[in-house]
């Protein structure tokens, strides 16, 4: 991997927006997306007509897509993207929109991930996630992604001597972060006993290793840095970003992802290393997958994430490596495709001094990673971005 993308210079991310998560909702996906859009406008002071691009991710909007929203919200954008990449969607939305801004195809792009949730929506989604999974995984117990990730987790634990107590470090610190950010669907901290004694879902995955499906939305705006400055909006710039699909396809089981293939490129493009990063937001569908990202993004050696999380404070104010300071999906909830945006939105918030009750001190540089789409035996999309506080 020696080919590097062109610079993302001159592009700004602004207006981090979260529409409060709800465990279940009678409202449609359009409500969560529409509320996010309205919040983006009120935060930025822009008018609906100023938004000339939309990048959207949603599972429960189907059979509608981004184009339907132009009619629903009476907009006439000249640039439109629907990104069906689940947990990889946020970084991809940012990358596509950044190029549109640089090329002049759009001036202001609203990037939104949003979904509703009801009794049927989650099982409908996971039972029909892909052709391969509904035909060749679903008949074997209908366990959804837990079937696949319990096996990936077991293999990872065996290969690198990882214990459930190590996963607990990630899950417990994220709960603390979520409570500080006042955005958890849970109301109290998670202690080690509760974590270890939770009910089995698919051994070695237990209840608190799983995300809670919910409704909600996450969103941000992209525009030129010049425009952000003229609007006096605090902003974040993209130092580097990469994406890769179906990496390490010959591995019999998933234990490393595309991040390991592109990280040298990414850090070299940014001119920094992992040691310069002030906060990390990984895609946390399961704690073992968080560990893969910590390793493959260079925060520790391969196979050493268990030792790393035991010796490193992961909370927002622990002085170590603040990780998933929003609480992540494990403790804030997984609002469908918004789960792919929660990391970027939180990083924008932290780097622009807009964090809620969980502000990381002196946060200038963040790494955010995405991971998504379990088509058969692993997720096929991996990506990451290095973001930095914009210069005034």
């Amino acid at each position: 991997m020696n080919r590097k993308p062109n610079s993302y210079e001159g592009v700004a991310l602004v207006s981090p927006v979260t529409i409060d998560y709800e465990k279940q909702s009678d409202k449609q996906a359009e409500w969560f997306i529409g509320r996010a859009l309205a919040e983006l406008l009120s935060d930025s002071g822009l008018k609906k007509e100023d938004v000339d691009g939309i990048a959207l991710s949603s599972f429960t909007l189907a059979p509608d897509s981004a184009v339907s929203l132009t009619n629903y919200f009476s907009m006439t954008p000249r640039w439109l993207e629907t990104i069906p990449l689940g947990g990889a969607s946020g970084v991809v939305a940012m990358r596509r929109a950044a190029r549109a801004i640089q090329a002049g195809d759009a001036e202001v792009v609203a990037c939104i991930g949003g979904d509703t949730a009801n009794a049927e929506s989650f099982s409908t989604l996971i039972d029909n996630f892909s052709g391969f999974s509904s035909n060749a995984v679903h008949p074997y117990g209908a366990g959804g992604p837990n079937t696949v990730f319990s096996m990936i987790t077991q293999h990872y634990m065996d290969k690198y001597d990882v214990k459930r107590e190590d996963f607990a470090r990630i899950c417990m610190s994220q709960r603390d972060n979520a409570l500080a950010a006042s955005r958890s669907l849970f109301s109290k901290p998670l202690d080690l006993d509760s974590y270890l004694n939770a009910r089995a879902i698919a051994d070695p995955i237990y209840l608190f290793d799983c995300v809670m499906p919910c409704a909600g939305a996450e969103a941000f705006l992209l525009m030129s840095a010049e425009r952000a400055r003229s609007l006096s909006l605090p902003y974040v710039e993209i130092m580097a970003s990469e994406e890769l699909y179906n990496a390490y396809a010959d591995d019999d089981i998933h234990y490393r992802g595309g991040w390991a293939m592109f990280r040298d490129n990414m850090y070299s493009s940014a001119g920094i290393g992992p040691e310069d990063v002030d906060l990390l937001h990984t895609y946390d569908d399961y704690p073992a997958i968080v560990m893969l990202q910590m390793e493959d993004l260079g925060f520790c050696e391969k196979g050493e994430a268990a030792r790393f999380v035991q010796s490193t404070e992961l909370t927002w104010n622990g002085g170590g490596l603040p990780h998933n300071t929003s609480g992540g999906q494990l403790s804030a909830g997984q609002a469908g495709a918004a789960g792919g945006f929660i990391g970027i939105v939180e990083c924008i918030r932290q780097l622009t001094g807009q964090a809620r009750g969980n502000a990381v001190e002196n946060a200038d540089i963040a790494v955010v990673s995405g991971y998504g789409m379990v088509i058969y035996d692993r997720c096929l999309s991996s990506n990451a971005a290095i973001l930095k506080r914009g210069s005034a």
Partner: protein
């Protein structure tokens, strides 16, 4: 146990050959006429050379358990009646990675197994991993419930 609940049966058309082969007691997968690549999950285009000439063939079904689990949660009402349900990811000696039901929960990572293709109560072919040798009785209760009456042969 109510008889109304059935295991999942929705499959795309390309899987009908596996259902048919299950009635003959055969383990078959599509093989590329041009490059001999064995395909799983079944498909219409070769994953390796993109040729569209795939022929169903009997494949040696011996392999090794890469990882396994006992499912304690399921979106299927049928399986929820029969939890925990043991499943595994098998690496076939022939190449493909295949999810299969485990004949008994004691089978673990590294164990040599043989896959058999059996009809479930919907008439769908499902893969079951038996200890290498393939003669053991299926013990997992959930699995016995989903197989048709010839299940113990």
């Amino acid at each position: 146990m109510t008889d109304k609940l059935l295991p999942p049966e929705k499959r795309t058309a390309v899987w009908k050959t596996i259902d048919h082969a299950a009635r003959q007691g055969q383990f078959v997968l599509p093989v590329c006429e041009q490059c001999d690549a064995i395909q799983y999950p079944p498909r219409e285009i070769c994953h390796n050379c993109l040729h569209d000439g795939l022929q169903w063939q009997e494949i040696t079904s011996a392999g090794e358990i890469i990882a396994s689990t006992a499912l304690n949660a399921s979106t299927s009402a049928f399986f929820r009646e029969h939890l925990p349900h043991p499943v595994a990811l098998i690496k076939l000696d022939a190449g493909p990675l295949v999810y299969a039901h485990l004949a008994r929960t004691e089978l673990k990572t590294g164990d040599r197994v043989e896959l058999v293709n059996r009809c479930d109560i919907n008439g769908r072919g499902v893969f079951i991993a038996l200890s290498a040798g393939g003669t053991e009785v299926i013990q997992a209760e959930s699995l016995r419930a989903m197989l048709s009456e010839q299940r113990t042969n």
